[in-house]
Each structure stands twice: as C-alpha cells, then as structure tokens.
Symmetry: C2
Subunit: 761 residues, 2 copies
C-alpha cells in the first residue's frame, strides 16, 4: 500500500490480460515483486485465496515435446526430483524456524533492555526520564523499520540490488517494529517470510545470484513453486503460533484452492521441521543462554493446566462472546478500511510523509503506553496466587511501576511490556480480578484505537496480534462482568474473546480453531471454541467482507472468489467474451512479422492457434490449440525460422528445444531483435502448441466456467461457438482469471448486481 | 465379500454405464445397498477415495427449470436450507457419538462379565472349566454376530424389511464380534455406521418409512448427501479414536476428493459434537454408573504424562521401526489378499460355510488366547511401579492368572482381556521390562496369524485394531531389544510400532499422524511420529498397493484413482470412446417410442440431445445438451406428450414439473406403462436438457480428462470431434467414471501397461 502507492479501488485494466507485465509471467511474481519488502499487508497476501498462484502444469506444458520428456524421464531423474522436493520442503521449514527464532530472540532482547532501562528510572521515581527513554527508544526502532521499508524497498531500487537484501530488510524491519512496542505482531510477517523463503528456494536463490543447479530446473514450473509456497506459508503460521496442524489447515483453508493429498503431507513435514527447530531453541533458552528472552516469546497461552469445566448455563456468556466478536470484528473491518484509504492519501504525498506518519503513530503509542498506567489505582498483591508480586524486572504478571511495595499497577502489567507478554498476562488463568474493570476498559479502548491507526503505516505488520489484544481485553471484561454466574476462568474468557474477534474479522474458522487448540493444548476447549468461532463468523459475515478480502480489493490484487456469485448463473461466457476486444489468433504456420506484431501489441499470455481453410472465405476453420507467449518468445530468440510455409518434423524441433527450456517461463521479448529479412520467414507453431486446451461452449454460464477454472486450476479457457457456421472463427473468446473476477465482470455488466460492489465501498 | 458372494477381480462390465441398476442412480446407493450390513470391509468402503460419491449438482440440475428455481428461492428458503444442513451435521455427530457410546458400553460389560467368570474359575484352579466358559461365551457371541450378518443381511431379504434393521444388525454384530475377543476392532464399523447414519438422515429415514418433510427434499441431491456422508465418516473416525481433527483430516485425505472450505468447517462441527457426547459419557462413567466399563474403553493410549526426550542417536531405532513397519505392512497386505481370496472360495459354498468359518476362527482364537499364557513364566511384581499387582479383576496391567501371589503372568495381561485393554497394556509407559521377550514374540506371532485369518469372516470387522496390536507388539519388542541404547520409553516404542505398521499397510499419513497426536495429547511426539510414518509409507509403497485399494479391487468397487497413471497420457479420449459401443443419442423433439426404446435397451444414465439437420444427409448437426435418464422417466410418468413435433413454451413446462421434482433422482422406469397410441406422440426434451455439459475434444489425453473429471466432480463427459465434418455426429462419445478407471481401460487396451494390473494379482 505504501511502497509504490498503488492503492486503488478495484482493478481498472479489465480488458487486459491477467498480467500486463510480460516479465511477471511466473505465477508467484506478483507476490514477490510487488510486496517483497514484507512491508504492507503480508498476511493479507498469503492469507487469502491466493488463487493466482494457481495453474496446472498440464495446461502449460502439454505440447508434444513436453509429453515426450515426461515419458522419457528416467527412474533416477524421478527419484532426484522427489528427493529434491522433500529436501526443499525440509529447508523451507528449517529456515522459517530459524528466522522465527532469530526474530523472537532479537525482539525479546531489544525490548527487554529497553524495558529494564525504563524500569530503572521508574524505580528512582524519575518518571520524565523514563518517558524520554521509552519514547526515544521506540521512535528510534520505528525509524529503523520505516526507513528500511520506505527507502530500501526493492521496487524503488534498481535491478542491481539482489532480492535477498529485501528479505533481510523485512526481517530487520519486523524486529524493529515489534520491539518498538507498536500495536502489531510478528505473526503476519512470519507467514510472508515463510512464503518468500519458499519462493526463493524454488528458484534457486535471488534473481542475480541464482544457483543454477540442474535439478532446480525441475522446480521452474508453476505447480511445484506453488506447492513450495504453500509449504512456506504453513511453516510461517506454524512458526508464529507453534501450531503444526493449524499451519497446515491454514494453508489448506486460506491459501491453496487446489489441493492434493501429497501436498498435505509435504506441508505437514515442513511444519514439523519448524516445530523441531522451535523446540530445540526453547530447550536452549530454558538453560538461560538467550539473554533476556522471556517466557512470553514463544509460549503465548498457558492454560493447559486449567481445569476446564462448563455447564449448560455457560452457553449464554459464550454466545455473547461470539456475537460481540462478530459485531466488533465487522466494525473493525469497516473502520480499518476507512483508515487505510485515508492513510493511502497521506502516503501518496511522498516518502517523508510515510516516515512522519509512522513516527507520529509511534509517539502516540509510546505516550499512551507510558502515561495511561498512571491513571490506574495500585492494587494490593494477593499472596494466595503464588506468583512474584510485585515485579520490576523484564517481564512478570504484576508490575510494580509507580506503586509502593506490596502493590502492583495492573495497567502497567498490560502496557509496559512486549505485546506477547501483554497477551500472556491478560490470558493468565487462576488470577480472577487481577485487573480492575476500569483498567480493562482503558486497555480495550487504547488497543481499539491503536489497532486501527497502526496497521497502515510503513512497517512490516501483521493483523493477528492487534486483534488478539483487542479480543482478549473484551473477553476478560465480559468474564469479569459475569462474576460468579459462570465457573469459566477469566483467562479462558480472554482466550475465547480473542478467538471470537479473529473469527469476526478474519473469518477463518477451522485453522483458527486448531491453532487455539494447539496453543492451549487442551482438547476440552474444542467444542466451546468452535461454538464461539461459528457464531462470530456468522455474525460477521452478515455485515461485511473479511478483512483480507477488503485489503485485497483495496490493493487491487486479483483473486478468484471461492464460490460463484448467484448472478453469475445469468451470464454466459459468450456474453462475457463479447465484452472483451476480439481474440487475437495465430495461424498454425505463421509469419515471423505477425508473431512479432502480436507480441509487441498485446500483453496476452497465450494465443489460440488456428488451422484449416474455409473453401469460400479462406478463414481458418479448425482450432489447433493454444500457444504460450513464453514459447513464442523462445522461438524468436532461438531464431527457429523456416524459409517456406511448411510443417516441421519432430526431430527438427527436438534438436532445437530441450523440454526443460520449454518449461521455463521467464522470457523477455524486449531482448529479441529481429531483422527485417527474418520478418518475412515462417514459424511452424504446431509442435509447440498445447493441442488440448480446455474449452467451453459459449452458452455455458459464467458460474459453471468459474467452477471449472478454479477446480482444474486453469489460466486460460477457450470459448468455442455452439454451432460452427461456415466462415466463423472456431474460437470466439479466451477467458483468463481476471475476466472471471466478480468485480471485473460487474464493471462491464453493472446491471447484474449492485450488492457486492456496494459492500466494498 | 460374503453377503452376496460378489467377490470378483476387477469389474468386467466395462462397456456398460457406470451403474447398471437404474435404481441405484443415487450416488451413495452402492455404498448402502451393497454393504449395508456393515459386514464386510466397512472401512475399506469409506476409507478410500470414494470418488463415486462425487458429482456436482451443477451438472445434474442445470436445465432451464432448475436455474429458474435457484434464482427464485427466497431468503427464508435459503435460511431454512442452511439451518437444515447444520442441524443434520449436528444430528450425525450426536447419533454417531451415542452409538459409539452404546457399543463401548455393551462390549465392555459383556466382555467384562465373561472375563470375571473366567477369572473366578482360574482363581479356583479349575482351568478346564475356565476354558469351557471362555470358549463357549466367545463362540456364542461370534455366532450371534455371524448369523445376523449372514442370514439377516438385507441384500438377501425382500424389500419389506426396513433398512434400519440392517443397521441395528450391524451394531449388534459389531458388539458381538468385539466382545467375543476376535482379533478385530470397532473402529472400522464405527466409520461405516457414521456414514450410514448420515446417509439415512439425508434421505429422511429408511426406504419404507421415510419421513417426507418438505425441507428434506433439499437434500435429495448428490452434493448435499455426499457432504453429509463425509461428515458421517469423519464422525466415525472421531468416535473411534476420540480425535476430532484427525477425523476431519481422515475425511479430507481418504474420503472426499472434491473438497470445499465450507465442508471442512461443517465436518469439524460434526466431530466436535461427537467429542462432546463422548466426553459427557466418560464423565458419567467415571462416577461408576456404567457397570464394568473399564478405562480402556475409550482412552486407549495414556502416554500424555510421559517425559518425551529423544536425541540424535535415537534416529537409528526410529528409522528401524519405520522400515520394519513398511516391510511388515506390505507383507500383511500381500498375505491378507491371499487369505481373502481363499475365504471367498469358502464363503461362496453357502451360508452354513460362512458360519462355520467364523466359528472355527473364534474357536482357534479362544483356545490360543486361553492356552498360550500357560507357556509364560510367572514374573515377580515390581513394587516400584506403583500399580496394583497382581490383579484378578476385570482389567489391569498385571494379571495374576495361574501365578502365585506376588507374581503376574505377562501373557495373560495381553491375552485374557479386551482388545482395547490389551493395547493399553502393551502401550503402558514407565513399565520397562514388564513383558518378557518370549511373551512378546508369542503375542506378536499369534496376532499376525489372527490378523490374517479374522478379517475375512462374516462379522462386522475393522482393520485398525488388528494392525495396532501387531504393530505395538513388534514396536515394544524393538524397544526392549534396544535396551539401554535409547532413553525412549518402551510404551512409546509400542505406539510408534503401531503407527508404522498402520502407515505400512494402510498408507494413510496425515490423518494417522494427527490421530496419534490427539490420542497421545503430546505435541513433542509429533516430529518422531511423522518421521516413522513417512518411512513406513515410503517403504510400503515400493512393494504393493495399500490394503484399501487391494480390498476395493477384490470387491470390484469403482473408484477413480487420485492421480492419472503415466500411460494415460498416451491415450486420447477419442480412442477410449471408440472402444465403447456407439453413443446413444436423442433428438431435441423425440418420439415417445424412441425414448421408451432407449430406456428399455440401455442402462445409461444420461443421453446427448441433438438438434439441427444436415442439408445433405439429414443427420443432426448440433449438440443441444445432455438429458438425464431420471428426467426421461419423469416425462413418461407425467405423460407430458405432444401431438405434433413442436417446441414447447416455458410456462407449459413449469406447469408440469416442479423444480424439486426434477432434482429428485429416484425413478423407476418399470412402473411406467405407455399405450401404443401414446408411443406415436412426441416429447420436447429441450427444456429438460442441461444445455452446457462439460465437453472435451477427442484429441485430449485420458490423463487430462481424468483430472477434469475428478476436479469438477463430473458424472458424464461428452467427447466432441476436433473438426466437425458434414454428416458427422457432433458428439462422438460419452465417458463415465467407470470408463476412466485405470483397471477398465487396461482391460480394453492391455498393451498400455501391465505393471499396474500385475501388482494386483
């Protein structure tokens, strides 16, 4: 949203092909190129139906040459391929786990020393100095994060800067932003980092320093890359929440729309590796070798020892939590949308505005976090709870702050600590009435404001933590208000509140449920959690779209809806095709000049190849198949030209192109120079054509075409006429993912339904 | 395999339509009709890619009338539909949970009293009497189970016996078989029972006493029924293992090949309900109201309190477990296949042979279980373990049997108990060297034999438990053999052994892993479990097919392979269509006589409808769409005939057919009598035709067509010619699920690949 100011409502290039930039042929390029700084809304990118990472290698590669290659691959090569796949999955898990460890260590230590210093001045009653130190440190850290994102974003830099630097920026920026006490989490960036690692590994490293191992070429296709990215995002979720099954289900529910059993297992393998890495790291840190690393760094919830008991009467408060979560979640979505549009206006004014915005938010955050605890009354320590009270150190559930000995400041416990520790404290179980109602109200109110104003600033940021903080606050409040009506622990109320708000805003359900299940490690909580999530999601869905969908629409990123809209049944693909410019076709044996012309003047990624000749009109009558832009460029690059209009033999083609070359999809037409004499030569496109593209009859409904598109994971769908009349082209349209997006269809056919587009305003 | 002797290798009716019986139109009918006794291999039915429960309502219903209905459904109706869906999902979970409870209670009590009686005689040294009682009780229970299956199987009975009785038979049979101490579990039957409950609920009850609620008509389509059945099978797994997430993943991995996010969530809801029911039941039983219900009834594994520690050196024994598991699993599959073929020969001889076979197996089992413990040496009790030792009661880890006080018989601990308790005992942690090596060898050897000879007998039986017993035995042996080399608990070795053998035989991975994760409730075990499963599956896959696939092939049940075979790329759908009899088509406005003729002489479920007329040959030139057999029967039943050859108006159709009627798929042509004068009338098929069936060009490879078929969940795929020449039919073939099965294709094209079919011999 901020790195190149490309915030726009919807996508206006409706008539264009799906990706205007021929360089971004590779499916995952938009994910990387546009957002490689991890700066904007990483989770939104990964954590939503990213169906544009979706396409089947059948479609791409099924020309005669590739088929031959597939058959001739030796056993050893197949083994090598499988081995490489698993190795990469393992590496993805390993690296994601290590980076998560690194981020945790850095955040905990930086924030730890900061808080210790602040605590030192407070202990001496030098409150102003404490404020200066706190605010100054936070401003400095925010500055680092923002400057990295704003000034070193690779979209702004030339191609000389290797991508890897961008990822490092993202990691350092995330550390800075979280350590600065901003109301944002490392969870979202972790998911993005996981996906980026996977993508990098799949292509053998950053663009300019790419490792050209031979076996890596196997991964130069959409399917294997997409699989790897799925592993990466699952690993990221797993690293964020220590939840291997939850990570897999997250990928299943949110990322991958085309799913296979084998992928399930490989994703699971990656997340298991992450868990092993995190586990080893926790063991090491438990022996005190991690500096100021506190308990809260990785183990957020600790309700596993709580006796969970609930009865029929508890259904009322639990329903309440769910309903409130749904309402609050959709309200949050609504207002965040407004704030993001406002921020976009500010950010568009220039880089310095972005930095200033971030710093103002940081300043406001610091002053509130430091100042508000003075409003709280000191509460006497309850010796029966058995925890140290009050505490002055790096973490702890009962911070002394400005209170006399034997007393603690409950707001300082929530505010003057890292976000992770704050969550831990508000989740803490067996500590009824630890927080006064007033303090909880202040906590809730502040984090509602911070949650709205922080997300859009130019730092790597995730939405999980702000929502958890808000949700846990109101959950605990509700629990406290219930008083003796239920026997459910107040910490549990906080957990349920967090879950309900997440469901109400993000609308994830199964993965969220499993994440909470694994975090709490308590199977007894499952039914009650499901119940809350279900209600919150239902209530939220009745108001507006999920926060991911809202952000994706704001950013104009393409993704296909999971289910066809009802009105799509009333539109045929023929009508949809008519609203587009006429389809550009090629002849089976085509003049070089025509090919160059087509490549120059269109940005389409594939072209129908026609054959035959009508006896009367001379028009082509037969659809031979579909040829990819990348293959046309390959032909021109290799100068595989014929002097006459003739069909080629198979050996001629095989001599010229290796199957692996044809599987590659990165080819830049600009580098090709064709002489004017060459322009008059011919190319036989037949051997490079996929002879069996998926076709639909023009009378098919868009809804049905969309189901086909999504289910099989297509990129192009040819529309053929119902009756092939003489003189008529055998193909009347070509549909891409962009064409089937509800938003784009409604732009062209506004009468169909106003409802959906209104929801987005 | 036994109820109607329909064991056959493969399916020979290759040229026929997918379901020969027009009554079995409903997708899930084969599941119910053929196997409603729960008798044969319930899990194999549910627990495998049951892609024949798969078809999209788009395809079935998208004629003009249905489209109109869909658009006109009011908000209230939509709400009613959604509400009904969730209610049914809840009911499925509830009933499955209750039935699981019932089975557990019955088994534990029946087996408990039996064992108490036996223990009483043993305590008096009256060993022969004990043997008589033990064997007699087991024979009696086996007889009940077998007779129910063999004589009251509804396939053998007339249509007067309601289906519900069959299910009761299955439940009672399962109780009898498990309580009889046979080497089989209640897990498999539970999965089947769950699916059957779902199917029954979806159709409003058993055939003859069906509740005709109006809203139930919404569920009279394949998709909603299939969704419900998916919920049912997940609930079954959950009830068997108390594993809600595992149940969902099982359904995801094994049952549903076409999956949606919404289904994920609804399935999860069902399993959560099951967990609540089981939990409530455990609470009640803990207060001692369940008679002899022991701990082992539902909580099989109890390693949650074990300190799990493993180091790098442990990788060697763990790898060993995995490799052995893979080898043993594939050996088991191999020999079980042989035994099942042999049993089939015996069972075909008649019902009395089936009963005798069951009784012999029961007799052999009883004698071995009772006699073998006499071979074991008495071991002195170890007071440091802190469990009661020796025990004489209903359950217990240290059975006294024939030993003096202060000593226990380790084989009796494993044999003279329920299967669930045996698993619990062999899994018991912190009890190193509880079992002597000799005893474990005897245990392992006996259960290898029993595991092979028990599964094929005519009782409801599951494969989970026999495999767990075998696997845990060799796991524990391996752990004991390792001695002091590793610090992993021997009980954990047993768990890993069971997991590896399951992976080696069943080849499930993710769901198995999660099931074990939830059973052990110990996240630390995850990486090591995954490692073992991965190795075992890989090793097993290199030898033969999974046990499910073997059984499905044995039973000749249709299911589509998850992935296309390599050789499918070398065959086009055109070639495949040519090998079939010519496609039967109808005219847009067709004579009644022709329709009757077609319905009488074919069993096809759908027919292409052609239009237009070639000026030269008079042949139809245009494909109008596809009409379902059910709709043709509807037309004849309603006598919706025209006196002349003309197109109808929309209102005429709408007057005659309600959309709900058209969504129904059960119509029997035999009941329709057409007079000879009516035969000369016409029917306009246009409004009832699905005008946009999915089509593929004849040059498309079978592999690609299969992907389309599976991804979109089709039932019929039309093959159209590449070039539409004059006088040629616009449709040259129609492919069904049966046509795309690898086995059937190889029957018609044996030269393509011998490898796959050889694997099955």
């Amino acid at each position: 949203m901020e790195e190149d100011g490309n915030l726009q409502i919807g996508n206006s290039n409706y008539n264009g092909e799906e990706e205007g930039d021929p360089e971004s042929n590779t499916m995952n390029q938009p994910l990387l190129k546009r957002h490689r700084t991890l700066s904007s809304t990483p989770l939104a990118l990964v954590g939503t139906k990213v169906s544009h990472i979706e396409s089947l290698d059948y479609e791409i590669n099924e020309n005669d040459l590739f088929k031959h290659d597939w058959r001739s691959r030796s056993k050893a090569q197949v083994f090598q391929y499988i081995f490489a796949k698993w190795t990469l999955a393992c590496l993805v898990g390993l690296l994601t786990g290590l980076i998560a460890t690194l981020i945790n260590l850095a955040v905990e230590n930086i924030a730890g020393y900061k808080l210790l210093a602040v605590g030192y001045y407070i202990g001496q009653d030098r409150f102003m100095t404490g404020l200066m130190v706190f605010t100054g440190a936070n401003l400095g850290l925010t500055l680092v994060a923002t400057v990295l994102v704003v000034y070193f974003a690779p979209t702004a830099a030339g191609p000389g800067i290797p991508e890897i630097k961008a990822y490092l920026n993202g990691i350092v920026g995330s550390i800075g932003a979280v350590a600065a006490g901003l109301d944002l989490g490392k969870e979202g960036p972790l998911v993005h980092i996981g996906s980026c690692i996977a993508s990098l590994l799949g292509q053998g490293g950053p663009d300019n320093h790419r490792i050209k191992w031979r076996w890596l070429r196997y991964f130069n296709n959409d399917r294997d890359r997409r699989d790897l990215i799925t592993c990466g995002s699952a690993s990221g979720v797993c690293a964020a929440f220590r939840s291997p099954v939850g990570g897999v289900l997250f990928a299943l529910e949110e990322v991958a729309t085309w799913w296979r059993s084998a992928l399930l297992w490989r994703t699971f393998f990656s997340t298991a590796v992450v868990v092993v890495v995190l586990r080893a790291f926790i063991e090491i840190c438990n022996s005190g070798k991690c500096g100021l690393f506190g308990k809260g760094g990785l183990i957020m919830f600790d309700v596993s020892h709580v006796e969970v008991r609930y009865h029929a009467v508890d259904i009322i408060p639990v329903t309440l939590i769910g309903v409130f979560g749904g309402i609050l979640g959709s309200l949050y979505n609504h207002f965040l949308h407004k704030v993001l549009r406002l921020y976009n206006l500010i950010n568009q004014k220039g880089k310095i505005h972005k930095v200033l915005l971030s710093l103002s938010v940081s300043l406001f955050t610091s002053v509130c976090l430091y100042g508000l605890p003075f409003l709280a009354e000191c509460k006497p320590c309850n010796p029966s709870i058995g925890e140290t009270c009050p505490t002055n150190g790096r973490s702890g559930n009962f911070k002394q702050f400005n209170c006399p000995n034997g007393y603690y400041n409950d707001l300082a416990t929530l505010f003057l600590t890292t976000n992770d520790d704050a969550v831990r404290n508000v989740f803490s179980s067996n500590t009824p009435n630890e927080f006064s109602m007033v303090s909880l109200w202040i906590f809730f109110g502040l984090y509602c404001i911070l949650g709205l104003i922080t997300f859009g600033i130019a730092t790597p940021s995730g939405l999980f933590l702000p929502i958890i903080l808000m949700g846990s606050a109101y959950g605990r409040m509700l629990g406290q208000a219930m008083g003796s009506y239920t026997k459910i622990d107040q910490g549990l109320y906080a957990v349920l509140g967090a879950a309900s708000l997440m469901a109400g805003s993000m609308r994830m359900t199964v993965s969220l449920c499993v994440i909470f299940l694994e975090l709490t490690n308590n199977l007894l909580l499952l039914p009650i959690t499901m119940f809350v999530l279900l209600i919150a999601k239902t209530v939220g869905d009745s108001f507006n779209l999920s926060i991911y969908e809202i952000i994706l629409h704001l950013k104009g990123l393409p993704f296909l809806e999971a289910n066809p809209e009802p009105w799509m049944r009333n539109l045929t693909v023929g009508e949809l095709g008519d609203a587009k410019p006429p389809v550009v076709t090629l002849q089976g044996v085509e003049k070089v000049a025509n090919i160059v012309d087509v490549l120059r003047n269109t940005t389409h990624n594939a072209f129908p190849v026609l054959d035959g000749e009508d006896s009367v009109t001379g028009a082509a009558t037969e659809l031979h198949g579909l040829i990819l832009r990348a293959h046309l460029v390959k032909v021109l690059k290799k100068r595989w030209f014929l002097n006459e209009k003739r069909r080629t033999e198979e050996w001629e083609v095989r001599e010229k192109f290796t199957p692996v070359e044809l599987a590659e999809r990165e080819d830049n037409f600009d580098e090709v120079a064709i002489t004017s004499s060459e322009m008059q030569l011919y190319v036989d496109l037949h051997p490079l054509t996929n002879t069996t593209p998926y076709t639909v009859v023009q009378s098919m409904s868009v809804a049905k075409a969309l189901v086909l598109f999504r289910s099989v994971g297509l990129r192009h769908l040819l529309v053929v006429p119902k009756i092939q009349a003489s003189g008529m082209s055998p193909v009347i349209g070509i549909l891409t993912r962009q064409d089937l997006r509800a938003y784009n269809i409604l732009q062209a056919f506004p009468h169909l339904d106003k409802h959906k587009s209104e929801k987005l305003r």
